[in-house]
Amino acid sequence: MKIRRVDILGFKSFVDRISLDLQEGVTAILGPNGCGKSNIVDAIRWVMGEQNAKHLRGRSMEDVIFGGSETRKPLGMAEVSIVFGNEDGLAPVAFRDYAEIMVTRRLHRSGESEYLINKSPCRLLDITELFMDTGVGARAYSVIEQGKIGMILNAKPEDRRFLIEEAA
């Protein structure tokens, strides 16, 4: 299942809703320091189920909600949606007839979380199962965060086996 689009609203520095259409092949993302490029990577990991705020450079998950700027007030909710195209028919049986599958995650400042598939509320478990069944989950070797490439060589030998385990 290819990623067709990512919609981000209220997540980190994306206070206004943005839509990132993703094509085949290689997409390069560029821009000055601090403009939000790595925040896009965080948004994709988050909507795919990342539960550890530290993996998103935060101290608590509330840190991913837009916290305000010189000109904008903080927001009360972060929302990221990822839209997959079902061309290769890899979708689980329940979604066989859909051309697209949209996974949405919301976090309110109250701490309340929402998960939706095709705009229909579901549980976190349904999302993780969907990603597992389709093999689309963000595997350790398919997302390399900024500055993390060096960890592979610096790691102890026992701390590298997870790479093989995830592929096995």
């Binding site: 299942m1 290819k2 990623i3 520095s13 994306f14 206070v15 206004d16 943005i18 839509s19 990132l20 993703l22 094509q23 085949e24 092949g25 290689v26 997409t27 390069a28 993302i29 560029l30 821009g31 000055p32 601090g34 403009c35 939000g36 490029k37 790595s38 925040n39 896009i40 990577v41 700027s69 010189e70 000109t71 904008r72 389709t134 093999g135 689309v136 963000a138 595997r139 070797y141 398919s142 997302v143 390399i144 965060e145 900024q146 500055g147 993390k148 490439i149 060096g150 592979i152 060589l153 102890k156 030998p157 026992e158 701390d159 590298r160 086996r161 790479l163 093989i164 592929a167 096995a168």
Partner: protein
């Protein structure tokens, strides 16, 4: 699972022994298990010899050589079990122009089957991308995404 680990390890190792000399334009490298007897606990050692140099511990390698070795391993795993997409955030930062060129060549081959999203500051990487997006912050603290053509950016 012990059997699957062993099979996957052997496949990745064989691939790694091809990918490394391709990215380094020579040299050799291989993976080894620290404990062949205990496949559930064994660690994975990496042995590297850049072209023309002697085999030595990976810590003596340069910053760029370490990064490219890690990239070779990641690409090897990816080739054995491709994911539908791959996100790389400034992985090309420590690489010189020649290495960035070979890095991008391999990415474009793998991108025929998987989507690659690469965050980069490197003009060489941007020049060979299929699609370019710029992230801007005209209003401080507020991110926006724009489509980019390379001549805009280079100007």
């Amino acid at each position: 699972t012990r059997k699957r680990f062993r099979e996957t390890f052997d496949l990745v190792n064989a691939r790694f022994q091809e990918v490394f000399p391709r990215l380094f334009r020579g040299g050799r490298a291989e993976l080894s298990l620290t404990d062949e007897e205990d496949l559930l606990e064994t660690g994975i050692e990496i042995v590297v010899q850049p072209p023309g140099k002697k085999l030595q511990s990976v810590n003596l390698l340069s910053g760029g050589e370490k990064a490219l070795t890690a990239v070779a391993l990641i690409f090897s795993i990816f080739l054995i079990k491709p994911s539908p997409f791959c996100l790389l955030d400034e992985v090309d930062a420590p690489l010189d122009d020649a290495n960035i060129g070979r890095f991008n060549e391999m990415i474009h081959e793998m991108a025929q089957n998987s989507q690659f999203i690469i965050i980069t500051h490197s003009k060489r990487t941007m020049e060979v991308a299929d699609t370019l997006y710029g992230v801007t912050m005209e209003e401080p603290g507020v991110s926006k995404i724009v489509s980019v053509r390379l001549n805009d950016y280079a100007a």
